[in-house]
């Protein structure tokens, strides 16, 4: 570089040389561009058609959402572990009463609090009926009324069925109190929900 700068004849040469190389460079550049273009266009040519996949996903989503709410197993929470049984009767839909060691809920709505799997004495206040849990009966009566109205309006026939999802550790005393209270709310057919053996 120092030599070039030092010679007086060279400076005009340099600009002459550059334009002389231009066509070649241009060509090279063009070729490079073309290559790049071709490279960039490659994936577009092989692009996936995701519309069909989207259709599939939408159908799966609708199906899952439809099952989501009606699934009684959705009631299973921590502290609610049903017993295992060899029964083969399939699951049914009905008013659901879930019993854990901490509370009793009717269709996911908590109605009575329990202390270590026992009903609080304050909740067993109905005279001459030591097994009756007042709030549970009232809540079940409201649900029965609701189902009867649906039946009157042309809905499915209400047969007084009740699903009992109980934790495997609860005592029979508590279970009998729940069944008695449900009996007072005109429910007569009980279905104990169990897990199939693995």
């Amino acid at each position: 570089m120092a030599k070039k700068v030092g010679t007086p004849a060279r400076p005009p040469v340099a600009p002459v040389v550059v334009p002389a190389e231009d066509p070649i460079l241009e060509e090279k550049k063009k070729a490079r561009k073309n290559r790049r273009k071709a490279h960039n266009h490659m994936p577009e040519a092989g692009e996936l058609n995701i519309t069909a996949m989207l259709d599939m996903l939408t159908i799966i989503l609708v199906f899952l959402l439809k099952n989501y709410n009606t699934d009684p197993a959705a009631n299973l929470t921590i502290g609610l572990n049903p017993p295992v049984s060899t029964t083969e009767l399939p699951m049914a839909q009905a008013i659901t009463v879930a019993i854990t060691r901490n509370d009793i809920s009717v269709d996911d709505k908590r109605v009575a609090e329990l202390i270590n799997g026992q009903v609080k004495p304050a909740d067993l206040t109905v005279k001459d009926q030591p097994l009756l849990i007042g709030q549970l009966r009232d809540s079940l009566l409201a649900r029965v009324e609701h189902h009867r109205k649906i039946e009157e309006l042309g809905g499915p026939r209400f047969e007084g069925n009740m699903l009992v999802i109980g934790d495997r550790t609860i005592d029979y005393e508590l279970l009998s109190q729940v069944l008695y209270s449900a009996g007072q709310a005109q429910l007569a057919n009980f279905k104990f929900v169990t897990l199939a053996p693995q």
Partner: protein, 157 residues
Amino acid sequence: MEVGELNLVPYMDIMVNLIMFILLSMTSFIQMKIINVSVPAIGDDTMEAADKDDEKTLAIVVGIVDKKGFIISVDGNFMEGTPPNEPTIPNLADGKYDFAMLTTKMAKVKSMDSKQTALTIVPDKRIDYSTLVKTMDAIRRDVGGQVLFPDVLLGVQ
């Protein structure tokens, strides 16, 4: 033309996320079954009426005594072989209930009246729900799979 095309990729992202979320929060993979149970209705004489209709109906009661075992009574009498003041089927040495023996005994009761499918279970207050369900399992079918007593009526002491 390409400019006007809808970009479906973000939509697909949402879909995939939603499906993953729903699948994970669903518990349908757990197989659930039911056991039908009845309780005696207060002021209802259906049981007595049924007894009158069919004179041969046996009144079978299986009692579950806490930490002791099972008591079986047929028509108000303890089942043959029941020692006085002791359960018909005492618990095993390790304190567990003898469900296999219960099935065997119930098969014998079934042979008294092969048409009968109903009985009453009267558990103690402190019997846990799991033991009750296992008892119902033990009396539903015998080892060979033959139906014994699938219709259970729950009683209270």
